[in-house]
């Protein structure tokens, strides 16, 4: 528990984060590739041609829900609350387009790139964090949340 932040889950966050970092390390040291979900999703669905072999991309993308499913099986349930469908569709479109234009998302730039001290990824992470903060602030200002 963190005083003042009753909702925070620092321990679960750290443990989950270590697992995510280990997963990305396996991808890097095992297969020589960045565990960037947006790029691998595009590759797995045939929406990009370069990058990882298609089989590798499909296996990684299939693994994501598989791992989450195993946790849900062991833990009983994984709580989640989703925004309204309309918002999800708008958000999905922007996330899909933006991550391809910017060559990465939270995993590729945020975890793999930051830990490599890549200037591109440091800038990208600062920008998507910044615009994320601004977007939610705007939603609060306009009474959307």
């Amino acid at each position: 528990m963190i005083p003042g932040f009753p909702e925070a889950q620092p321990v679960a966050g750290l443990i989950g984060g270590l697992m995510i970092g280990l997963a990305a390390a396996i991808m890097l040291l095992g297969l020589g590739r960045i565990a960037g979900v947006s790029g691998l999703a595009a590759r797995a669905t045939g929406l990009s041609t370069g990058g990882a072999p298609r089989g590798v991309a499909i296996a990684f993308i299939v693994g994501l829900p598989l791992g989450a499913f195993l946790v849900a099986l062991l833990a009983g349930c994984v709580p989640a609350t989703f925004p309204a469908t309309g918002l999800l569709i708008i958000a999905g479109l922007i996330v899909g387009y933006g991550t391809r234009l910017g060559s990465g998302c939270t995993s590729g730039h945020g975890i793999c790139g930051l830990s490599r001290l890549s200037p591109r990824s440091i800038l990208a992470t600062a920008l998507f964090m910044g615009s994320g903060f601004a977007t939610v602030a705007l939603m609060r200002l306009t009474g959307m949340i």
Partner: protein
């Protein structure tokens, strides 16, 4: 072998997302909500993930090739350009609106398929729009 390693990496990644609370869009959005009930959990997840990856980059420097493939295939682009900046800014906007980025969205297909499907389909639509409007 390569397929099994990719599957293991994906599964560990997905399990980490579920354990860390990042499969909950409202928790992610609460991290971005500086003027609401701010939830710092995402910072712990990022911090936790960066540690093993930073070590992996050190190992990378000392080995010729990855353990299960012929060569490293890493992004070599160094250009800091408008595409990178605009793409990242747009991604942040969508991330803020939905509380979802690609990893947790795809992992959630196993947890709340009905709820997350509209986002995943729209995300693939966005990827396709980018694909067919460039080059």
């Amino acid at each position: 072998m390569r397929i099994m390693i990719a599957l293991l990496s994906g599964a560990l990644f997905g399990a980490g997302l579920a354990i860390s609370g990042m499969a909950d869009p409202m928790r992610v959005r609460a991290f971005l909500d500086l003027f609401g009930a701010w939830d710092p959990t995402l910072a712990f997840v990022m911090g936790g993930a960066i540690v093993p990856m930073a070590l992996a980059w050190m190992v990378h420097k000392r080995i010729e090739r990855p353990f299960a493939d012929k060569a490293f295939a890493l992004p070599e682009t160094r250009a800091i350009d408008g595409k990178l900046a605009l793409g990242a800014i747009l991604f942040g906007v969508g991330w803020g609106i939905g509380g979802l980025c690609p990893g947790p969205a795809i992992a959630s297909l196993a947890l709340a398929p009905g709820a997350v499907a509209p986002f995943v389909l729209a995300m693939l639509g966005g990827i396709a729009i980018h694909r067919f409007t460039t080059q």
